[in-house]
């Protein structure tokens, strides 16, 4: 049997139709979109077509879409690009984050604090990793320059009420950024409906290529480039645009946004069955993250008294690729900070297991996985201290 991939929250294979769409832009329509000649014009047409496609599905206008190299870069640009100007204008100096943000947000905020004198405040989250609207409302009594809260958590899959948070921020006139890298593969994202000023995307999570992302920046939001140079991307990101990857992202986004309901209809029953069976067949196991408000492909667990890293190795050797939630290839046992935030003690948190299904995952694959999981868990538990 071929190895079975169950780690679609880490990355996804590029859709065949996307590969085909990208193909001509490597060596046929290869021009620099900033060039005056026809080679450049053709590349520019592809670039702007991609921007319009992205904008259309996001409910945005094309001038609000900045192409970047990744979701992480988009997060960086959203924070670093906006907070200095905003602070200058209003004097507000504080960033407000959820404590379970992706490192691209957390570490950026940390640097803004350490090197540039910003304050960083963390909200609390409930046992599922969700923030509370009341707390945000109260926290915004103080001078806040930007709020950054992820749409869906990568480790536990929980969704946050972005629309409602956005409403609160809008009322207060505070910038609101959301990292939608995980949710873009599953939900229609309409930036007007979500009430966001800034929204980050990374193509490889939704069957697009790696190395390309986008940042939505609402018109009127003052943003400065991090990469200075040429005037590409409206002067907000210098660098010759990577046309094949951008075309691939737009194609993948179009597909995921127009096919999302079919994909959810396929994924959710598979995922629900997986959760049900794991909870009933693995003793001392718990679902992490919200039971309903979660990514439709995402099943994450903690299993008590189990070396989660060893379980991942054992499963991989048996032909199933999953994750412990946050990558740890060095074998150093550190409980995930997200699970610790959610209140899990090390004896639970060290035994984390994340299974993230993909659009092509079959029931047979899940059944094969469930056939070997209980015995694998048992073996790893027996080897435990």
């Amino acid at each position: 049997m071929d190895n079975i991939y169950l780690d679609y929250a880490a990355t996804t294979p590029v859709d065949k139709r996307v590969v085909a769409a990208m193909q001509p832009y490597f060596n046929i329509t290869f021009g620099n979109p900033s060039s005056t000649h026809r080679f450049g014009q053709q590349a520019d047409t592809a670039l702007e077509k991609s921007r319009r496609e992205m904008a259309e599905f996001l409910g945005a206008s094309p001038s609000e879409i900045i192409f970047t190299s990744s979701g992480s870069e988009s997060d960086n640009l959203a924070l670093r690009g906006t907070v200095f100007t905003a602070r200058k204008k209003t004097g507000a100096n504080r960033l407000l984050l959820s404590p379970v943000e992706h490192p691209a947000v957390q570490e950026t905020a940390r640097q803004l604090k350490d090197l540039h004198g910003f304050e960083v405040s963390f909200l609390t989250v409930d046992e599922y990793g969700k923030v509370s609207l009341g707390e945000i409302e109260a926290a915004l009594q103080e001078n806040t320059v930007l709020v950054s809260i992820m749409h869906a958590n990568n480790e536990v899959g929980t969704l946050n009420p972005i629309k409602e948070i956005g409403e609160i921020c809008q009322d207060r006139g505070v910038l609101f950024h959301t990292d939608a890298v995980q949710s873009a593969a599953h939900f229609p994202l309409d930036v007007k409906d979500l009430n966001v000023d800034l929204l980050s995307l990374g193509a490889h999570k939704f069957y697009g290529p790696k190395g390309v992302g986008a940042l939505y920046v609402r018109t009127g939001t003052k943003i400065n480039p991090m990469l200075t140079g040429g005037s590409q991307e409206f002067g907000i990101r210098a660098s010759t645009q990577n046309i094949p990857l951008i075309v691939g992202m737009a194609k993948a986004f179009e597909q995921v946004q127009s096919e999302h309901q079919d994909r959810i209809d396929h994924l959710r029953p598979l995922r629900d069955n997986l959760i049900k069976r794991i909870l009933s067949e693995i003793p001392s196991s718990q679902l992490t993250g919200h039971p309903e408000d979660r990514l439709p492909n995402h099943a994450s667990f903690v299993i008590k008294d189990l070396d989660g890293n060893l379980l991942i190795s054992v499963l991989d050797a048996a032909g199933f690729a999953c994750s412990s939630g946050s990558a740890c290839k060095t074998g150093d046992p550190e409980p995930s900070s997200v699970l610790t935030q959610l209140g899990y003690s090390p004896s639970w948190a060290l035994g984390s297991l994340r299974i993230a299904l993909g659009k092509d995952t079959t029931k047979e694959e899940i059944d094969a996985f469930l056939d070997i999981l209980p015995e694998s868990v048992q073996r790893v538990r027996e080897l435990g201290s």
Partner: protein
């Protein structure tokens, strides 16, 4: 080769050329190879030299080149309990332990092997220079590596019949030059990274500083006595000296003086001239007979009392299944309690034990 082609073999990888070539050879021979590396304990503020991040990166990269999966397994706790603690205790009791022996016994051929089995492997392979032979009667024998310069059977004498039945040493019939050449043939990087390191868990300083941190009470200055019992100097702590040592005693005498004994009771170091140094008899405990059965009577064998020492012919008398008396044909100056005495008949490693304190 005892393993049927196609069986899954876990190779303990270090990033060094020996374990890398071992993995490549096995893959070439048609085994279902996976690479494993242990994460071992190290002194606070340092990296274990058998698995430091560089070595791990290198091993992971080589596994990638060979297109085999690679897994790192955390063994820090177990390593501390079964290798580092006995090492510290040994010094506290005046012995000079060899931690690699416990590492082989409790970490590689127990902890790692169990985990290799959980990964579906039937065999464990390492880059040691030693050979395993199965006799027609079904016995597994441990033989010296063909390359006697590199032979590592000394540190493998702790293995049992069961261990050997699940082990492959792909380099046993090769010498280092051939292994280097193979690395080139397989397009593997030949970074000269040692495959394992003595005292891998001790940080920047040497083991003496490590012991002072861990067991300050046991490493105190004390008297140096001559064989007649008169004090002729002061030592800095018994753990700082090894039997047979001549330099660094800080005593001037007409003739060279050597460490002959450590008196743990009196915290005294006994030194004497060269003629008082040699011993011809000692006892060894925790003896492992690789055949699984101790000899019935006294046997003749060649004995190695340190990893790199010359063999000396001896008469070995079994006292009980795990203790022996060893009578050497000629005296040796550096018989050191805590080190292993390993017994050979020609290339055949019979087993060995730990030299007893007086």
């Amino acid at each position: 080769m005892i393993a049927p082609v196609g069986s899954r073999v876990a190779v303990g990888m270090s990033g060094g050329v020996d374990s890398s070539v071992s993995a490549a050879l096995l893959k070439d021979q048609g085994y279902d190879v996976l690479g494993m590396m242990l994460r071992l304990w190290s002194e606070e503020g340092s990296q274990n030299r058998c698995c430091e991040p560089d070595a791990q990166e290198e091993a992971r990269f080589i596994a990638g080149l060979l297109e085999i999966p690679f897994y790192v397994v955390d063994a820090q706790e177990k390593f501390f309990q079964s290798v580092v603690m006995p090492f510290i205790d040994g010094y506290a009791q005046g012995r000079t332990p060899n931690p690699c022996l416990n590492c082989n016994r409790f970490i590689r051929w127990d902890f790692l092997l169990q985990r290799a089995k959980a990964l579906g492997a039937d065999f464990l392979a390492t880059g040691h220079y030693a050979r395993i032979k199965k006799t027609p009667a079904g016995q597994f024998q441990l033989l010296k590596g063909q390359d006697t310069e590199k032979d590592q059977s000394y540190v493998l004498h702790v293995l049992t019949q069961k261990n050997l039945s699940q082990t492959i040493f792909p380099l046993g019939d090769l010498n280092k030059t051939q292994v280097r050449k193979l690395a080139g043939d397989y397009s593997l990087p030949v970074a000269d990274r040692p495959d394992s390191q003595d005292l891998c868990f001790v940080g920047q300083g040497d083991y003496r500083e490590f012991l002072r941190l861990k067991i300050p009470a046991a490493i105190k200055p004390g008297p140096i006595f001559d064989p007649e019992g008169s004090q002729i100097g002061e030592h800095t702590g018994l753990a700082d000296y090894t039997i047979g040592q001549r330099k660094g005693l800080g005593i001037s005498d007409t003739k060279p003086l050597y460490v002959i004994q450590k008196d743990i009771q009196q915290n005294a170091l006994i030194v004497g001239p060269t003629n008082s140094l040699g011993r011809q008899e000692f006892f060894a405990d925790q003896v492992n007979w690789i055949s699984g059965k101790e000899p019935k009577e006294c046997i003749q064998a060649d004995v190695k009392i340190r990893y790199k020492s010359q063999e000396v012919t001896a008469a070995i008398t079994v006292q009980n299944p795990t203790s022996v008396n060893v009578q050497l044909e000629s005296p040796l100056p550096d018989i050191t309690p805590g080190q292993a005495a390993v017994f050979y008949q020609a290339d055949l490693c019979l087993g060995g034990g730990i030299i007893r304190s007086d």
